[in-house]
Symmetry: C2
Subunit: 592 residues, 2 copies
């Protein structure tokens, strides 16, 4: 139906006849001539319809925004002085010889050609087919396709086999809530949609598949936050007979290749590696944004003897933590701004936010500092803080003092917020690996150990003997890939021996009966010759969001759900009829 | 953990040290030496452990079938006379210098190295991780991966964009039963799993995506037959601004490329095209297996006046059909065989199966024929039949006479069965397109028109005006790709104008209210500038099954379900607890 694409016409085609198909981006009447900007996925070109060709002109007169047209015409230079250098086709135009309206269009409910982000997301999603016509959205989805293609190419070149695993499966143990699918054939029984193909990919290793990958749809019925969706896409990877160093290198190379191909960005080689404990110590987070040049500095040793109990108590408590966070040029922060930060850290449970403004330290020493807490701190402590943080005149130092977990969360978040607010971070890509995670966390409420990753993560080989005696000190063979403060991938070497798997289940308070019931097939499979294996999974939506500079994963999915997990376009979810419920042996429960 | 793969060792590595990882395929003790066939996904190699190295030998003595080993050794030629020419590594062996048991294995429940297909499918699926270790299954899954990769590469090269569409969506209108997913956030409401991304891919065309594809998981809650699975994979394709000829050529080229790349088979160029009516006339089927050189030959005109009412009545009835099916060398069929075929056609509703054996026609004419029905047929009829079928001595002619639909089904199926039983068909690949399908079929029971494809299929442009006046004669712009008697792809140009879509809905007895309720979003989208578009979907499981010569799609899926839609490995579906049901506002219904 067409000979060329709109955005690809150029002066090499001068005097050629071409046929285009596309949408009316804009129509203008000027001096008795009609100008139409015709748009397809490749771009926009100017069509000129003059009254000398009455049939064509008459059709052009009817055309409105978003009408679908077919135009046969001759390419010519735009008159001198009317060129548009902002447009790839801006030097030429198409003189229409024949114009056909393929389909008319109602006036769109929001502007497509001059979009300012002022349309509610609900309306955008309801009319997603219009929203997706915008070049910005086209670019995002095209980049997503290219990113996934580049990932696939890399994996294909490295002998990975793509294998599809079931969507209708059994409840998996990732810990979030499963979506359930009632079975008609087995009344009262349900399939679960997978939170990840974790167990299947391990079974594929036991099947001798050697290197597996899948661009896998995953599902979690969780309360939605800004960056969550009921279904999401994961690049799922598993390999046999490879240790964590080799696997991490393979994966780093893949991500470097994607950035190189798609963004022409060279990521560092190798990625820096931080242990979990160092990441928590320096950044209060296991996914630190390394673009922000701020660090938490431990000062508990300086605070243990101060009179000020807010500092002294956590400083003396083995589970407490006291840190300083130096903010260069932070002295300019207003009282109001500091109040707002105090409010901000309270979200994370911090009971206050002490600070010292460094006004004239160089000349006036202690008298050049300004702080409500100054009176509580002896000289030695002050001197120690100033020396350790390296703060200079014009800076500000924030303090966090509480349990280690509150300090890490609150001050880690504050660090990121300050980085953004004060535009401290560089516009670079800062990937890293976080390694040496603890195997277990102690859940104070439930009074039991839980797995920091998942229960199939292998402990470090040399720590197997303290699994039971000192689980808190056991490190795992897990690794997370972090980019600019987001975890984009996470994985581990898995347990490949049934006996170790049983011990870990036991430690996690999963009884032998429960283990058999939920994971019996895995334990059995481990006994039939399971190779050493490990893997990783990358969040594709998150990765694409970062690589396209988008604010939400909804911006990089064609048909996302709202935060109420519904689709304004199709109306999903919706009611079903009694016959369907009856076939599934279900009855609705009236909530009280 | 390894330096090489087992199956890739060869004489270029003589005297080199290599490290391998793999599974014990077989262990033999011979003359005080232990021989181990070590297997990985690339193949098998012979390991030799001699008693000179006691530690290695001791480990080797413990090794049993399916143990996972790591072996460091030196490659050497096998002693003259002990080479194995059937094995890619058969000229060499690895002298073990160090052998480590990475994981022991229980004795497998069925033989992996010498498998005879005598294990029940239930057991194979329960221990799928063992079943998949068999080279035959490895080959199937690897070929599947290669087929999909080749399809993707072709589409990428032709500017198709891969876009993911939702799995949690609204009930779609493909006609089969949907799998439903209860919503926790919206109690009493359900998502449906897609039977295909049909409406989303049309919406993507309305979004200006131009060329879309997706390797899409689809779901149908149907009663399972040999070749059905609750979930299956479809290569889903849609394009804008392309007519059916251009699209069919593009798709043909893709399938030709896949066969060339994966099987080194050159398919015909172009594929033959048969109209629906010709396919039904000649083969009684809209997916004819062209490898079978048998055709149905209409003889109603010869039968209209015969006394024999079994023939005369359908011959005179406009909805009836009378056909002859010549079977070359069919004269050798025994009475018992003919009885069995009579039984066979009765499955399809045929009330009998008349036949004529051609014994000595050349010399004896009518007297050289043998048939219980001969006496009912006048000479002119006999002569006409013999001339039209071209039957010669030694042949047999079967007859079908009934309503056209019964004759087509029964004689079409008989044709295929005869082709297989008598090994008449060539071992070639016979693809074709079937085109010019009717838009509608009349459902005699429900007394209404139904869509032969789906309600979004466009009617031929020149037949729009008889949509209401003579729907039965309207042809659609649909096309099916058929290979060796299986439909591997089907699609159509879609309706792109709201007004035509409304008329088709009306004809299909979908009231305006019902249309609004079920497809309102589509009708709305059609009004905002929908481009002319069309597409196709290929059944990946079916295609891979054919290309790997497998007997069932379960053989080309890693983790298929049984015919009871359950997974013997994981135990899905399974019961869920009361809390989960309560969260979903559901109650189980006790069946009475």
């Amino acid at each position: 139906m067409r000979s060329h694409l709109c955005g690809l016409l150029d002066s090499s085609l001068i005097d050629h006849e071409t046929t285009l198909c596309g949408w009316v981006q804009r129509r203008r009447d000027h001096g008795g001539v009609i100008f139409i900007d015709l748009r397809d996925h490749s771009g926009v070109v100017q069509i000129v319809c003059d009254p000398d060709r009455p049939a064509t002109f008459a059709q052009a007169e009817q055309a409105r925004s978003e009408y679908v047209l077919q135009v046969r015409g001759r390419v010519r230079y735009r008159p001198s002085g009317t060129e548009n250098r902002d447009l790839s086709t801006g030097l030429i135009e198409l003189l229409a010889l024949e114009l056909t309206i393929l389909n008319p269009a109602e006036p769109p409910p929001f502007q497509l050609d001059d979009y300012h982000g002022d349309t509610s997301e609900e309306v955008r999603l309801r009319y997603r087919y219009l929203d997706l016509r915008r070049p910005e959205m086209q670019t995002r989805l095209r980049k997503r396709s290219l990113i996934v293609k580049t990932l696939r190419n890399y994996l294909d070149q490295h002998d990975f086999l793509e294998v599809e695993t079931p969507i209708l499966t059994r409840s998996t143990p990732e810990g979030a809530r499963d979506y359930l699918v009632p079975s008609r054939v087995h009344p009262g029984e349900f399939y679960a949609l997978p939170q990840s193909p974790q167990l299947f990919k391990q079974l594929l290793m036991m099947s001798g598949m050697d290197r597996y990958y899948q661009v896998a749809r995953c599902f979690r019925d969780e309360d939605l936050r800004a960056d969550r969706q009921p279904e999401f896409t994961q690049l799922d990877i598993e390999v046999s007979f490879l240790n964590e160093d080799a696997l991490m290198t393979l994966m780093e190379n893949m991500i470097r290749q994607v950035f190189d191909t798609v963004l022409e960005v060279r990521l560092p080689d190798p990625f820096p590696r931080l242990t979990y404990s160092e990441a928590m110590r320096r950044f209060g987070s296991d996914r630190p944004d390394l673009r922000i040049p701020l660090e938490l500095i431990d000062v508990a040793d300086l605070m243990q003897t101060v009179e000020f109990r807010v500092f002294a108590e956590p400083a003396a408590n083995p589970n407490g933590r006291v840190v300083a966070l130096r903010v260069p040029k932070g002295g300019e922060l207003s009282r109001k701004a500091i109040d707002e930060y105090t409010q901000f850290v309270s979200i994370y449970g911090a009971k206050g936010l002490a600070y010292i403004k460094v006004n004239q330290w160089a000349n006036n020493g202690r008298d050049g500092l300004q702080s409500p807490i100054l009176k509580h701190l002896p000289d030695a402590t002050i001197n120690g803080i100033m020396a350790r943080t390296g703060a200079t005149d014009g800076d500000l130092i924030f303090f966090g003092a509480d349990s280690a977990s509150v300090v890490n969360e609150a001050m880690g978040a504050l660090r990121v917020k300050l980085g953004r607010d004060l535009a401290l971070f560089t516009d670079e890509w800062q990937p890293l690996w976080v390694i040496d995670f603890p195997m277990f966390e102690y859940d104070q409420d439930a009074k039991r150990w839980t797995a920091l990753h998942h229960p199939f993560t292998a402990p470090k080989l040399d720590q197997l003997d303290r699994l039971e005696t000192d689980p808190g000190s056991c490190l795992s063979r897990a690794y997370d890939m972090v980019l600019n403060g987001s975890e984009i991938g996470g994985g581990s070497i898995r347990i490949h021996r049934a006996e170790v798997q049983r011990r870990v289940f036991e430690l996690l308070n999963i009884s032998p009966e429960d283990a058999e019931d939920r994971f019996g097939f895995l334990l059995r499979a481990l006994q039939y010759g399971c190779p050493p294996h490990g893997g990783i999974a990358f969040g594709i939506d998150r990765l694409v969001m970062l690589m396209t500079g988008s604010q939400s994963i909804r911006e990089v999915m064609a048909f996302p759900k709202t935060q109420a997990a519904s689709c304004p376009l199709t109306g999903a979810p919706s009611e079903v009829n009694e016959t369907q419920l009856r076939e599934l042996a279900l009855r609705l429960r009236t909530r009280t």
